[in-house]
Structures are given as structure tokens and as C-alpha cells.
Subunit: 464 residues, 2 copies
């Protein structure tokens, strides 16, 4: 052994040098991704077009189809190896005319409230609904009040989001049940409609929409969202006059399903063309804003990843696939269609497998890291890249949830990863008319593009 | 030894339990700081008053005195053990009427530019200056051009800030020499005035002011800032017509010095009243905005630290001292006066020492950590608290620069610490008319308050 020591030492130094060189090379390449993204804010300009020339684009709408065409053309202009459309049957709900909600009270006078219908809600009919209001804060209160106190009334869900979690998605998660299931629950006790405090931490006049669900077993009643300021107004008016009435008028309608598409583009891998690193965001958005942070940002960031690889002249070993998902907001039909096709691919000959799937759908704010839904061994690998990623503010690399558009790949064993961004401002805008292009900062958005590109590069180079 | 093992094991377990309990207690207290700050955004409401009722407050102005009175009253209302004013002699520069800069060219036509005078600049006189323009990008180009190409002309410094650093203070640092020393350097070659591209990464129409310096040995010539958009305009016009003229008109004036004040408040330490943990921001701001991020944010955040300690009922072991600094922007007279008084305190009987000084002057954005200008041993102690701070996004705890208002304490051996915030948006607003209250997010600001309170708590408990 002693005689071999100098040789072993030499090999050790050689290996160490190689490893250090690899790290140096990696850090240089990561630096180039960020330099390119910050010097040429192409994703930002793409988002400008999507938001200000197309705008809100709920699945089933003409605007959504415009956006699909735009994404397809944009991807083709980047000269990837392939661009194709994946058919997705989507529902088509329409808000109708601007909603009305008006307090009518002999004691406290008339008061218009800032409201909007929740997604999938039925309309009130042309006469509207004029009824007393009962304020509750959770489903248990509904149960305690019982049918005798609720029947024929409008149930007002007014539980505020908790301001104390640092990561605001927790606050949202703790408040959104009222929106998602309020109408279904209130209808069980004979309510005539529901009006729900917006699931946001902002105190302002914007009502926030979002999907809500009916149950087949109970009557579908109209469901509205009210701005946080006007939720406070309604609550304080109710204290002065518990018998006040609320008049609501909406004209929502659901149309037959139609064909829409996911848009998919690929750069084929040079060594492992049948192993796919997938990444994407969703092109559909709610109708009342421009879908800038939710999720125009994720779409342009993940499209930008292709551009960054091309700009740097990096030919990936594995196939890079960007997916522009249709219908995240309404029924996740695009996610389901994609997961189904991924399953078929994995059973085809040759089999095509996913090495990882990455989603960007937490707003185009300063990126802070990645949340990984995968076995610990894979989390450990990604975490080992933290020294390379941390100079770009990507400190937080940890096990956690991923995203709605990729989670259906989980049963297939695909490691799922979400880009995590600074969440403080996200729910100020999510699902509201205020989710517009001017709320997106070019550098914050571009840093997110480069963050995803950096992660894709490391997965492509080292595997998982 | 074997006989003693059970005893030693018992002591080990006891010590481990105590240590874990201390950590648990600390993490509970930190959680309470953040819960209080996020539930009651008092700093945010204070900033609203400072920005919208008082507004821009350059040292020497009536507005600056209004702000000093406001800070004193606000601090007194919080019932600390003492509030006092520390006299500071300040200069008093006034911008005068709205500045004019107009391209006059027979080839490219008239064009107004968005400009503002730089701080300390002389005025142009009532006739203004009408002269040809020579564009340069650094002082070396000035030297190469020489007096024959510069004399009698307006020098246009047009080096853009580098968009590639992740931390934007680096970009600012790489561009700001043009603003600070451009007039002084150009005057050496006989320039008649300078116009300087704003030191910002934003592409917009806001000129950014800031201090500039003359040298006694050269003529004081007018110095203006131009918005980045109009710097591009001027540059492209110059390409079409190198002989175009620029007409500039400003009416800046410098008035006699006057007395202003730092405002200081303390909660006396229960165990070490003569050891001070100091923290502060600066109350003065440039005149053209509201001084919201620079540095109203730092002032209200550090005042909030006192409120948080009071709200949580924590009596500090060491004296907590908040300093509302006067005149950071113009000549750092407040910082100098404070450093001088600290020196006197340390030589008094009993001697009063600084345990640490913390500054918040990097904008009221999401806090990311602390930058520490102190010996490695102290950096190591603060870094050891990272597990407690990281749940609040305070990942980055590292050796680095501190801040302009506390750096004069360095020769006295005081450990200096700066709150580090997300820098992406800071230079969009710094020193511009756009630095207004609406650019500050309540949660981002309040997180910063709690971050400083958490650090102060740990320093107070464990020392440095």
C-alpha cells in the first residue's frame, strides 16, 4: 500500500482537479445564462405582447385560441427540432356582463360592492336575487346555523386570509376553501347564493375570481367574490342592520366544450433523445386581468429556456421539452392530456421517459429556489447544486409541492419541481383585474428564466 | 472514568436539553416578532404619513425640519426611556425652478429632455447655456479627447449601468462615478456643463438626482441628470447631427448652513445599560420624490423595532437605541455628528460602548439577510443564527459592506451590519420622482422591520 501511495495521491489530485474544473465550468455556464437573460429581456417583451395585445384568455375563449396560435408561432420562430399541438377538450364558461352587488337597506342606505362571479358559477337570472345576508367564517358555522337560519338567504363567507405566514401560498391555502366549496356547502342548507371575501392579503377594491365547484347532489347557486375592502363594508353594514338585503345580478353561462391545445416544442437530446426534461407554464388565464403573473410569466420564462440554450450554443444531452399548458385555471384538462400522453410515450417503442418536469406558476417575481416533489435521494442531488445556484439568490432548495400542471405525472414516478419565487405580492394580483403586465418587473422575470435554464442544464449534465 | 459515565451522560443530556430549549424559545420569540409586524403594519402607516403628508425632505429644507419634528413626536409617543435631538449643521442646496434641457438642431429638430439638476450643482444663470455636446462613457475618453475637443462644450456622460450583476448595487457602483465626479472631471478640460445618464437599470423617463462633487481647483459647472430614455434620445440625435446644440437652464442655489438634528431614542438595558445596540435609517431624502424607499423605509423600520420590543413585552439586557439620521444624501453630517458623539461616549465615565450598529438603507423590499462589516469571529457568531433567521427568508448572512450612516463608527471598532433587501427594483426609484409611497409593499416593508428586531434580539441575548 505504501508503495502505491504516490500513485493514489496523484490520482486523487487528478480527480479533485477534474471535479473543481467541472464546477468552474458549470459556474461559468450558469453565469452566461444569467448574463444573457439580464442583457436581452426577450421573455419580458414576449410577456408584453401576450398581456397587452391578447390579454385575459380563459380556456374556451377566442382569446385563448389567439394565445395558442401566438405561442406556436413564437416557438417555431426559435427553430427548435419540433413544435406540435396536443388537442385538449376544454369547457367554456363566460362571465357575461359586469356583475352587480348592491346593499339595499333602509337603515344604512344603498351601497355598490366591487364583485365578480366565481369561475363556473351559474348566473342569477335576469331578475337577479335580492335577499338577506348571513355572515359566516367557515363551514362549521354554516352547520351550527342550520337550514332555518340560512334558507333563502345569501351566505357571506368573510374569513380573512391569515397575514402571518411568510410564504403567502400558505395564507391562500388557508382561505380558499370558501371560494372553492362555499356555494356547494351553503346550498346544502338552502342558501340562494354566496358572496365570498377575496382570497388575498391586499386591502383594496379588486375582487378576485377563481374556480369554484358544485356537487351533483345539491342545487347550483350563484357564487360571487367581493373585494376585501367591500367585504369589510358589507360586514360593518351587517352589524348596523342585520336585516339589510343584498341585490346581486350576474349573467354567467356555460357553453359546449370545444377543442383547444397544449403547445409543445422540443430540442432533441444528442445522447438520450428519449429522455425528456420537461418544463412549462399555463397559457390560459382568468378573463378579468391580463394573466401576467398567473401565468403569462411562467409561459414566457419556460419558452425563454429554449432561447437561452440556443443563445449559448448548448446542445443538450437529453431532450428539452417546453409545454405551454392549456386550461390550468378551469379544469386542468391540458395537464391531464399531457400526463396521459406521457404515459403512452413511456409504453411506446422506443419508450420515452421523463427525467424531470419543472413548472413555473408562482408569479414572475424574484426567484428564490426550487420546491421538489421527489424521493429524498433526488432532492439530495438537486440540493448538492446549491453552491452553484445560490449566487443567483436560489437559496431555498427543498422538498415540497410542485404545481397543478405537472402533478398528474407523479403516478408515473416523474420527479416534479416548481420554481419558487418571492411570494409577497403574488396574491395581490392573482385572479384579479390587477394582474397586468405593468406588475411584472423585467429583471425579476428574467432571473426566473435563467434560474430554470440553470436547473435544466444541471439536470441535463448530471442526471437525477 | 467508566463509573462516571452515567453522570457525564446525564449532564450531557441536561445541557443538550437546555440548548434545544433555548433554541425553541428563540424561534418562538422570532416568530412573535414576525407575527406582530405582519399583523399590525404600523411602520407602513408611519411611512404613509412621512411620504404623503411631508414628502421630499432635503437637508436644510423646511420639509426636513417637519420630518425631524414628526420623528421626535412619533418616538415620544412610543414611551421609550429617552428621546433626544442631536444638533447637526447642514448645508442647504435648492434646486430652484423646474430644469430645462432642449436639443436645438436644424437637422433633427427641437426635443425636450427629462432632466434634473444634480445635488450641489451650480445653476446655469438666467440666460442658460447653449452649446454643442460631446458624448463620452468614462473619464479616460475625456482625457483622450482633450481640451481642444471639450472646451466650451457640454459633456454628455452616457455609460449605461451594467444589467448583469444580480445584486444591483454593483451595477450602481459601476456607473455612479459619472454622476459624482463628471462635472469635476469635465471642467478640467474646459467643459461648460455636464449632462449624465441616470444611474439606474430602468428604461424610463425619470431623471435620477444624487450628490455630485466639485474640486476647489476647477470651475464649478452645472451638472444635470437625464433619464435613460432621453439619454438614448440624445445619443441617437448626436449620431444624426454631431453639431446639434443643447440648451440647458437651471436655477440651483446654495444657502447658508443651518442647524438640523439627528433624532435618537432609547430603551435602557436592564443588565448592561452602557452597552448600546444602535439601529437606524436616514430621514432626509432628495427633493424630487417622497423618499419612500430611500430612506423613509429604513427610518420607519428601525423605529418599528422599538414598537415590536414593546409590543412583545421584551425588556432588553442592553440599551436599544434608534437613530434617525439627518443628511445622508448631501454631506453625511448626521453620520459624522453621531460618530463623534459615540467617541465621546466611549471616553466618558461611565463609558458607553456600542455592541453593534445596524443600518437599513437599501430599500423597503423583501429582506434577504445581513451584510456584516466586522471581524470574522463576529460574522461567524451572526452566521450561527442562520437556522433561526432562514425561515423568514434571511438566507444571506455574510461579510460585506454596511452603510453610509454607520461606517464612521468603524474606526471605533463597532461591528457594522446592513439589512440586505431584494435589490431588483431599488434603483428604478432611488433619487427619482418615482420614489413614492405606492412603490412600497406593506408586507415587504414589515418583514424588514421584524428582521432587524430579530437580529437585535439575538445580539441582545447572546452578545457578539
Amino acid at each position: 500500500m505504501l508503495k502505491r501511495a504516490p500513485y493514489a495521491f496523484f490520482v486523487y489530485i487528478l480527480l479533485l482537479t477534474c471535479q473543481l474544473n467541472a464546477q468552474n465550468t458549470d459556474s461559468l455556464i450558469l453565469r452566461r445564462f444569467f448574463t444573457e437573460a439580464l442583457s436581452n429581456p426577450v421573455a419580458y417583451h414576449n410577456l408584453n405582447f401576450l398581456c397587452t395585445h391578447i390579454g385575459g384568455r380563459l380556456c374556451g375563449s377566442n382569446k385563448a385560441e389567439e394565445a395558442v396560435n401566438w405561442a406556436e408561432k413564437l416557438l417555431m420562430s426559435m427553430n427548435p427540432d419540433t413544435v406540435y399541438l396536443q388537442p385538449v377538450m376544454v369547457e367554456h364558461w363566460e362571465r357575461g356582463f359586469k356583475e352587480t352587488a348592491r346593499i339595499t337597506s333602509s337603515k344604512t342606505g344603498l351601497q355598490e360592492l366591487s364583485v365578480c362571479a366565481l369561475g363556473s358559477s351559474v348566473g342569477t337570472g335576469p331578475q337577479g336575487i335580492n335577499a338577506e345576508v348571513v355572515e359566516v367564517h367557515n363551514f362549521l358555522e354554516l352547520q351550527d346555523l342550520g337550514r332555518k337560519n340560512i334558507e333563502g338567504k345569501i351566505v357571506f363567507f368573510n374569513r380573512a386570509a391569515d397575514p402571518t405566514p411568510i410564504y403567502t401560498f400558505e395564507a391562500y391555502g388557508g382561505a380558499v376553501d370558501q371560494r372553492a366549496f362555499g356555494a356547494m356547502q351553503a346550498a346544502r342548507y338552502g342558501a340562494t347564493a354566496v358572496i365570498v371575501r377575496s382570497a388575498t392579503l391586499a386591502h383594496d377594491n379588486y375582487p378576485h375570481t377563481g374556480i369554484q365547484h358544485y356537487a351533483d347532489s345539491v342545487k347550483a347557486i350563484p357564487a360571487l367574490s367581493v373585494s376585501t375592502n367591500d367585504a369589510d363594508t358589507l360586514s360593518s353594514r351587517l352589524k348596523k342592520d342585520p336585516n339589510l338585503k343584498l341585490f346581486i345580478l350576474t349573467s354567467c353561462a356555460t357553453h359546449p366544450e370545444s377543442v383547444s391545445h397544449n403547445v409543445i416544442a422540443e430540442i432533441k437530446g444528442t445522447e438520450h433523445p428519449n429522455e425528456v426534461i420537461a418544463f412549462g407554464g399555463h397559457i390560459d388565464s382568468w378573463d378579468i386581468g391580463q394573466g401576467a403573473h398567473d401565468d403569462g410569466a411562467g409561459v414566457v420564462q419556460t419558452i425563454e429556456v429554449l432561447r437561452l440554450f440556443k443563445a449559448l450554443g448548448i446542445k443538450p444531452r437529453h431532450t428539452l421539452r417546453v409545454i405551454v399548458f392549456m386550461d390550468e385555471e378551469y379544469a386542468q384538462r391540458g395537464a391531464k392530456a399531457y400526463a396521459e400522453s406521457a404515459k403512452q410515450e413511456s409504453n411506446s417503442i422506443p419508450a420515452i421517459h421523463h427525467l424531470a418536469a419543472i413548472e413555473s406558476d408562482r408569479g414572475g417575481f424574484t426567484p428564490q429556489g426550487f420546491s421538489i416533489d421527489a424521493p429524498d435521494s433526488i432532492v439530495k442531488i438537486i440540493h448538492s447544486w446549491q453552491p452553484l445556484l445560490q449566487p443567483y439568490g436560489l437559496w431555498s432548495i427543498a422538498k415540497g409541492g410542485s404545481g397543478v400542471d405537472i402533478r398528474d405525472l407523479k403516478p408515473q414516478g416523474v420527479p416534479l419541481i416548481a420554481l419558487v419565487s418571492d411570494s409577497q405580492r403574488y396574491f395581490d394580483y392573482q385572479h384579479a383585474a390587477s394582474d397586468t403586465f405593468d406588475k411584472v418587473h423585467p429583471r425579476e422575470l428574467q432571473l426566473g428564466s435563467a434560474a430554470i435554464a440553470a436547473l435544466v442544464f444541471l439536470i441535463d449534465k448530471y442526471g437525477l
